[in-house]
């Protein structure tokens, strides 16, 4: 068990981070090069002011009509994304790991808060799952991969909660937790999870087009 643990926290962790970072750079660069080669006009229309204007409206909860029309989704999405980023970085166990391995540390979340945030992520995932199964227009679009991605995202939180609270089998669960986190990291560059990096560009581009050329709002 211990050797598994050393492997997943040692080499595999390094691999996961390298794959995540290098993969993201590679994907981003290949898209950038392709844009320069095939869609160079896109750069001509990118406008910082209008790009930021659009991004801002879409980063403010209920800042767009689309968000107002889908209040449950808006609440779920915002809480989900906030918790998804905050929790892994500030959860006590992770902060300890950084301290132990690299001797750097920062603020850690109180346990209660971490639990609540974990529940929010899991709850949001259930909500997303429900949408995929129950709402016809979402169901129609859903592919098996969408469920897998949802699983990839939910797994580290479910397993982490389990491991932290030392429910039965928590030792194995800790390893599964670490692996699931690493899988998520490694999946980012190669799946739709990459949308986190593309958002500023797709939003910024349409914002520039709407603002700079079409002189209209896009929210």
């Amino acid at each position: 068990m211990h050797s598994y643990y050393s492997f997943v926290t040692g080499p595999l962790a390094w691999i996961a981070f390298i794959v995540f970072i290098c993969g993201s750079i590679w994907r981003f660069n290949s898209l950038w090069q392709l844009t320069k080669k095939k869609d160079s006009a896109v750069f001509e229309y990118m406008d910082r002011k209008f790009a930021l204007r659009s991004i801002a409206h879409w980063l403010i909860p209920f800042g767009s009509r689309s968000m107002q029309l889908n209040p449950a989704m808006t609440v779920a999405t915002f809480l989900f994304h906030i918790c998804l980023f905050i929790t892994p970085i500030f959860v006590f166990g992770h902060v300890m790991l950084w301290k132990e391995n690299f001797n750097i540390s920062w603020f850690a979340l109180p346990n209660m808060a971490a639990d609540v945030m974990t529940f929010i992520v899991i709850g949001s995932c259930i909500f997303f799952l429900w949408r995929r199964i129950k709402l016809p227009h979402v169901k129609y679009l859903t592919t098996p991969l969408d469920f897998i991605i949802l699983m990839i995202v939910a797994a580290p939180f479910m397993t982490g909660f389990w491991a932290y609270h030392q429910f039965p089998g928590f030792v194995s669960m800790t390893i599964i937790h670490i692996v699931s986190g690493e899988i998520m990291l490694m999946a980012i560059p190669f799946t739709k999870l990459f949308h986190m990096f593309l958002f500023p560009f797709t939003r910024g581009y349409i914002g520039s087009e709407f603002g700079g050329v079409r002189m209209a709002k896009d929210w």
Binding site: L31, T35, R132, H137, K192, G207, A216
Partner: protein, 449 residues
């Protein structure tokens, strides 16, 4: 057993009811090899990161659904914007172009007749993914495969031969202008439609259907231009038509030819700017799409839509009205000049300057519902009329709501919107009258002595 089979068969014939000669005969000439090679050519040579990012980034969240009047009207998940991508480019990219002629048929129906390219969905997608662009790629593929609805293909042919949308011959155009000039002289003595006048401030261009079916609009424009004492002109030779169905069929080479002729007609006459009639798609073509295809970041000459022009006439007090238009009006915001150029506030300025009683439709401005006719859909002709009108149900509700508040007249400053709204009003029994801004202004205009 046999009973249920009959039901199924019926259902099948129901969904296959729309038959279009252009599409049907088009797919009969296809082979899988041809399909694959055309798709590869278009995807590899003509698209790049944009298409890839749009298709790869879509999270299948379905939020775009509420952006689409097809979905809102029909409540069928197949009509959400992302669903239209799923049924076309996702599949094509997933299968690397190995799709059947039957698939191309369905894809052509979706791309040409189930998307108005109104770009409303881009305002509902959190990522701003532009489904209209993806549909335009699908149309480009269909066009290159020769699978285009007959009516719109015919219109594109007209563009290629006559350089206008309606097969108007060179002489018919000039004759129509002279006829309208003469008619308008009854309203204003010595009124002119100056042909080919060099150095004019305004080069006035219209769409093919104006001389063909709605010549009174040219008459009205001439009266307004003369009342405002404008230094204006219209060209006698091809280049007068600003419309562009080639942009919508996917014939971009022809679109480039049309737009070049239009721009150069105005620039060769050393006109200061182009003022366009009340048309939306033509504006999109001249202001946004055509210029880019030719290599211009923005149009090489200032392009002004009628709304902007009329607004300017009132702001600069170049024309006067006798009295305000009395009957209560509502305003339809056309996609190509609202989401396409942000002219909605100017449109309201004109309404306020000309009409005594204005009732807003909701949602409005950038969020207004499309007329279901735009993007070349109405130009696909009678085979698709019923489906088009059904997809305008949400629009009909909007109209009924405005009517309940008292609106009697719908102002729609776009030709396609007129066509689409006319069918919706008739089909759903809305009983409202449609007008252009030009109609209203002409009706209340104070003619100079």
């Amino acid at each position: 057993m046999s009973e249920s089979k009959t039901v199924n068969d019926n259902k099948k014939t129901e969904s296959k009811k729309i038959e279009d000669q252009g599409i049907q005969k088009g797919i009969e000439q296809l082979t899988p090899e041809r399909i694959e090679s055309v798709i590869r050519q278009v995807i590899n040579d003509e698209t790049g990161a944009r298409l890839k990012v749009y298709v790869d980034t879509c999270l299948h969240c379905g939020l775009c659904s509420k952006g689409c009047h097809f979905f809102l009207s029909l409540k069928d998940p197949k009509f959400s914007p992302a669903a239209k991508v799923k049924q076309t480019l996702w599949e094509i990219m997933r299968k690397k172009g190995k799709v059947s002629p039957e698939f191309i048929k369905e894809a052509a129906l979706i791309a040409y007749t189930q998307c108005n390219m109104c770009k409303r969905c881009a305002m509902y997608c959190p990522f701003g993914l532009d489904v209209a662009y993806v549909m335009s790629v699908m149309r480009r593929i269909c066009y290159k495969l020769g699978v285009v609805p007959l009516y719109i293909q015919d219109t594109a042919h007209s563009h290629s031969v006559a350089m206008n949308q309606m097969w108007v011959k060179d002489d018919e155009w000039i004759d129509t202008l002279m006829w309208q000039e003469e008619e308008a002289q009854d309203a204003m003595e010595n009124l002119r439609i100056p042909l080919d006048k060099e150095g004019a401030d305004i080069f006035y261009s219209v769409i093919g259907p104006e001389p063909k079916f709605r010549a009174q609009l040219i008459f009205q424009a001439a009266v307004i231009m003369n009342a405002a004492k404008e230094n204006w002109t219209m060209p006698s030779m091809p280049g007068w038509d600003n419309s562009d169905m080639c942009m919508f069929t996917g014939d971009y080479e022809m679109m480039e030819r049309l737009k070049r002729l239009h721009f150069e007609s105005a620039l060769n006459l050393r006109a200061k700017r182009i003022v366009m009639g009340e048309c939306g798609h033509a504006f999109r073509s001249v202001y946004d799409v055509g210029n880019r295809a030719l290599g211009w970041r923005m149009p090489p000459i200032e392009v002004v839509h009628s709304i902007e022009y009329f607004n300017e006439l009132f702001e600069q007090k170049k024309i006067k009205i006798r009295k305000k238009f009395e009957r209560p009006v509502t305003l339809h915001d056309p996609c190509n000049i609202v989401r396409g150029r942000g002219l909605h506030e100017m449109a309201r300025n004109i309404v306020n300057a000309t009409c005594a009683n204005f009732i807003e439709m909701t949602p409005n401005r950038e969020h207004n519902y499309c007329c279901s006719a735009g993007g070349g859909v109405i130009n696909c002709g009678p085979p698709f009329k019923n489906a088009r009108v059904e997809s305008g149900k949400e629009k009909a509700k909007q109209l009924f709501a405005a009517k309940a508040k008292g609106a009697e007249v719908v102002i729609a400053p776009c030709h396609n919107c007129h066509g689409g709204l006319e069918d919706i009003i008739h089909h759903y029994g809305v009983e409202m009258e449609l007008k252009f801004f030009g109609d209203i202004i002409y009706e209340i205009l104070e003619l100079p002595e």
